[in-house]
Amino acid sequence: SLRCSQNSNLCCRKDFYVDFRDIGWNDWIIKPEGYQINYCVGQCPLHVAGSPGMASSFHTAVFNLVKANSGRASGHSCCVPTRRRPLSVLYFDRNSNIVKTDIPDMIVDACGCS
């Protein structure tokens, strides 16, 4: 997966971090101190559609190659998350209870072309 850089507009992962102090949420969220809200952005030209390691599934890769070979211009490939991980949150609820939970698939680790 590519990390976004100035000199490429290919599908990549753009990192963005929200510090809970900046949004005034650090009084009720005990841990973590912020949220890594990465997202996927960029082009998926046909020649990279479904490239190994960049496809979300083998089936999609085969399907895109068929499309590419058929020369049809219809259909396109999207820049999507290909790997995510959970976010563990420890927070106070409105009754001042402490609650700990793991939210699945909350942080985008890698992006790829579908």
Binding site: D15, D22, W28, I30, R94, N95, S96
Partner: protein
């Protein structure tokens, strides 16, 4: 001033940053099943939080590796620490009031529930009984269900935990979100109720692990 600060070339600024912060807020509230960010009713002493988290951590360490959580990854689980509001309205028993905040329409399945008490036991002839009281509306004096009884054989001061399952399962599958327990001590004459009521720095708390039972079954999109 902005000119003086070294700009972060890859950091979005202005409207884009505001938009991403709003998206982050919305995502977190949605995943935590909260309509809005919680406004704390009262501050909890940081020392109490640290102590309770240490218990939670120790409790987690004791869990057998790959416990139930692994098999049922689909259901989101919560570990909740609820600090008790104590009252001595009906001595010699001590009332412990807990308030939970889950939404009414959530069907919770409770996996673990333990009550933590900081006790000073001078002699080894103290017996402690824990009762589940009727709905908090009734306050003290409602009918009581015995959850557990234990003879405290080791003397000294320290935290002790008391399992509350399976008797408490019924409470979490009901509609009420306010739980009242009553403690009664017999034995060596030391007044556990007064002891617990007085020590604000060692506030009793309840640790529960619950899973939210999803309505219907979930279909994974492919």
């Amino acid at each position: 001033a902005a000119a003086a600060e070294p700009r972060c070339p890859s950091c979005p600024a202005g409207p884009e940053r505001w938009l991403l912060e709003e998206v982050a807020k919305k995502q977190l509230l949605e995943k935590l099943r909260l309509r809005d960010r919680p406004r704390l009713a009262h501050a909890v002493p940081r020392a109490a939080v640290t102590r309770a988290l240490r218990r939670l951590q120790a409790g987690g360490a004791r869990r057998s590796p790959g416990g139930t959580g692994d098999e049922e990854e689909e259901e989101q689980s919560y570990e909740i620490i609820s600090f008790a509001e104590t009252d001595l309205t009906s001595p010699p028993t001590l009332g412990l009031q807990f308030h939970f905040s889950q939404a009414q329409d959530q069907d919770l399945r409770i996996l673990q529930a333990r009550l933590w008490l900081y006790l000073r036991v001078p002699r080894s002839s103290l017996t402690l009984r824990i009762f589940l009281a009727a709905q908090s509306g009734a306050g003290a004096g409602g009918n009581l269900t015995l959850l557990g009884e234990r003879r405290l054989s080791t003397t000294g001061s320290g935290w002790r935990s008391f399992p509350l399952l399976p008797a408490l399962q019924g409470f979490f599958s009901g509609q009420s979100r306010s739980l009242r327990l009553e403690l009664e001590s017999r034995g060596d004459g030391s007044d556990v109720a007064a002891q617990l009521n007085a020590s604000w720095s060692h506030q009793p708390f309840l640790v529960a692990k619950v899973k939210v039972r999803e309505p219907g079954h979930r279909v994974a999109k492919r």
